[in-house]
């Protein structure tokens, strides 16, 4: 049987390639992003939700910040439509939104169902996107983003650019057929996608051992003939380096990679879930591996930052969030009749009706 080039490659590791390392300024920026992410989620989960100011689901990624930050920092943006990458975050990737330039106050307005949220109240929590920020919205049906992210990459390949599609998901999503279809499609066409699995070991209450028989999500790459790799998701540098390599591969036209970062969900599935099914010892063990603490200690040891600088960074974040919360609380709810708008294109530039077709005024 004739072999088609590129379809019989065994899955390979990326270990023979050099991993990029961040410079000092970038390290500090990433530390800031992780801290901002956690602080914003703390406000949402521990304050606004408990105060009854946020209704519906609240999902946070506490303890998992290194993954979205270490990956999202590689997303190219601000250089124009034929240069900017695209990203499909999962519901525990708050950092991606912040790093793509979505202001915290807009995220808060989104959670509060206000008219200036990213979806103008049509959807809640992390179910938001904005193509101006190059973010494709997540939907509840796990794994559905994977073929869509592949389609974004297909567009880049058709146009012959070196843009990359970033796709985040949890280990639970890898049980869905859409996940496999999307991965296979991307693999067959060697599309520039970086698939990033945030393996926090629990899908709601279901432990990974009841989710899959394979020991590692990255082992699934073998079935698709693409590189797969597993690394410590609480180690920012490990994430940064591996995603950097996979992005390089994608930009060079070498196709997709599957990266798995093992971490832990330091909360329940959502704000109403006390995670009573998780053994306390696991929280304690993973609490000691907190990604922010780890990075911070390393930076302190290296003298890149000192305690007063950290305190100042935290204080700035808190005051910024004070303002953001106050702004969001001042925002109006949508008018009830807006419920009927924007199901279809209503004409005008930017395809009217939906949030993206609105004037700049509400942004």
């Amino acid at each position: 049987m004739p072999r088609v080039e590129g379809t019989t490659l065994p899955a390979s590791r990326l270990e023979d390639e050099d991993m990029p390392a961040p410079d000092d300024a970038l390290l500090l920026r990433m530390l800031h992003s992780m801290k901002l992410t956690r602080a914003l989620e703390y406000r949402i989960e521990r304050k606004l939700y408990r105060q009854g100011k946020i209704v519906g689901g609240v999902y946070v990624g506490r303890g998992q910040e290194a993954i979205s930050v270490g990956a999202a920092v590689h997303i190219r943006r601000g250089e124009g439509e034929d240069r900017d990458d695209i990203v499909s975050p999962s519901h525990r990737d708050m950092a991606v939104f912040l790093m793509q330039g979505v202001p915290p106050e807009r995220i808060l307005a989104q959670y509060m169902g206000r008219s200036t949220g990213l979806t103008r109240g049509r959807d809640g929590n992390m179910h938001m996107g904005d193509l101006r920020h190059r973010i494709v919205a997540f939907i509840s049906h796990l794994g559905d983003s994977i073929p869509v992210a592949a389609g974004c990459a297909l567009t880049f390949a058709m146009r012959g650019t070196d843009q990359v599609s970033f796709c985040f998901f949890g280990e639970g999503a890898t049980s869905r057929g859409d996940w496999h279809e999307g991965l296979n499609f991307a693999a067959v066409r060697r599309l520039p996608v970086v698939f990033i699995c945030n393996n926090n070991q629990y899908a709601y209450s279901t432990h990974v051992s009841r989710q899959m028989r394979v020991g590692r999500v990255s082992d699934r790459a073998v079935g698709y003939g693409i590189p797969g790799e597993t690394a410590d998701g609480n180690d920012l540098l490990a994430v940064y380096g591996r995603v950097g390599r996979a992005v390089g591969r994608a930009r060079r036209g070498e196709g997709p990679s599957l990266l798995e970062f093992v971490t832990f969900r330091m909360t329940g599935h959502s704000a109403h879930d006390d995670a009573g099914y998780v053994p306390k010892a696991e929280f304690e063990a993973w609490g000691r591996k907190d990604p922010i603490e780890r990075l911070q200690s390393a930076l302190l040891r290296r003298g890149l930052v000192d305690r007063p600088a950290l305190a100042e960074m935290e204080a700035r974040i808190e005051s910024e969030l004070d303002e953001a919360v106050a702004w969001a609380e001042r925002q109006p709810y949508p008018e009830p009749e807006e419920c009927l708008e924007g199901v279809y294109d209503e004409g005008g530039p930017g395809a009217g009706g939906g949030p993206q077709g609105e004037s700049e005024a509400w942004r």
Partner: protein, 325 residues
């Protein structure tokens, strides 16, 4: 001038749109080298190349999902379902991703999902279905079902140019049975506009797809044998429905029969009857009647499929019952 078949009209429509708009591309199973199971994409690979005519794995979710991603980034994808029956595998991507993106976050998804639907060719339960109502019930989608070669071309062009996701149901029974002379110049058939195929004042038959021809034959018999003049309306679009055309037909004739090949319960006929009831009840001289397939899967064996499908005789029976009111 040469006559153009229904299937060739679809091919021409796609071809011309691909020639005039670089954003248009097609993806699906066997659409490239093979030219599509029904040859809709024949010659396109040679003409447009493999970046715009994409053979995919057997993965309907990936086909539609990839089309969504491309549409979000400004492309105009046409996703082919080899048989429309397989659209069920992509149901989630269509109903939850494609249909809701604009409403949720303002990101339009201009794409077409098309494929051969309908029975009458002994395809059995998985090659003969009429899946329209799964999608008619989904806000954010549009659903069209052309019956003529002219409409097949005009509606595929309109669907490709539309800013929203369109399900384009082509009836495989009509592929090579229907042909007509098409205009040389570019034209579109607007989505959401029905066509009156036969004028009449005594009775109206509302239908679409392959059933149009059964309805027209029945109307001829009614005129010839009973002097009953039947208006025959081809809906062409099921979502959005042309409400004006439906209400006009009801007001004009006072007697409405809805005919479709899709099964009865939850079919579009029930929706049309409700619209007429709510809005022009006072014009009616009789109940809105339905001729549809029964509530079973589409069977294979010829006598079973013939029993299943509506036809001229079943339409005549219902029309005579209605005319007697």
């Amino acid at each position: 001038m040469a006559l153009t078949t229904y299937v060739e009209a679809i091919r021409q429509g796609i071809w011309e749109e691909m020639e005039s708009d670089q954003r248009v591309f097609i993806l699906g199973e066997d659409v490239g080298i093979y030219g599509g199971a029904f040859k809709v994409t024949e010659g396109m690979l040679e003409k447009f190349g493999e970046t715009r005519v994409i053979d995919t794995p057997i993965s309907e979710s990936a086909i539609v999902g990839a089309a969504i991603g491309a549409a979000l980034l400004g492309m105009r994808p046409i996703a082919e379902m080899q048989f429309i029956d397989f659209i069920s595998c992509a149901f989630d991507q269509i109903t939850n991703f494609a249909a809701k993106n604009r409403y949720r976050w303002g990101a339009g998804v201009p794409m077409v999902i098309r494929g051969p639907s309908g029975g009458g060719v002994h395809g059995g339960p998985y090659h003969s279905q009429n899946p329209e109502m799964y999608f008619v019930h989904t806000p954010g989608l549009k659903v069209v079902a052309p019956a003529t070669a002219y409409d097949a071309k005009g509606l595929i062009k309109a669907a490709i140019r539309d800013e929203d996701p369109v399900i384009y149901l082509e009836h495989k029974y009509l592929y090579r049975r229907i042909k007509e002379e098409l205009p040389k110049e570019d034209y579109v058939v607007p989505i959401g506009v029905a066509a009156v195929r036969r004028e009449g004042r005594d009775l109206a038959i509302l239908t679409y797809g392959a059933m149009l021809y059964q309805a027209l034959e029945a109307a001829d018999v009614l005129a010839r044998e009973e002097g009953v003049e039947t208006e025959v309306v081809d809906l062409r679009s099921l979502l959005p429905l042309d409400k004006d055309a439906i209400l006009n037909a009801a007001k004009k004739t006072g007697k409405v029969l809805v005919v479709h090949e899709d099964t009865r319960t939850g079919g579009i006929a029930g929706e049309i009857a409700a619209i007429i009831n709510e809005e022009v009840f006072e014009y009616l001289d009789g109940p809105v009647l339905r001729v549809t397939a029964p509530d079973t899967p589409v069977p294979y064996s010829p006598p079973l499929e013939e029993f299943f499908l509506p036809n001229k005789d079943k339409i005549l029976k219902a029309a005579r019952q209605l005319a007697a009111y």
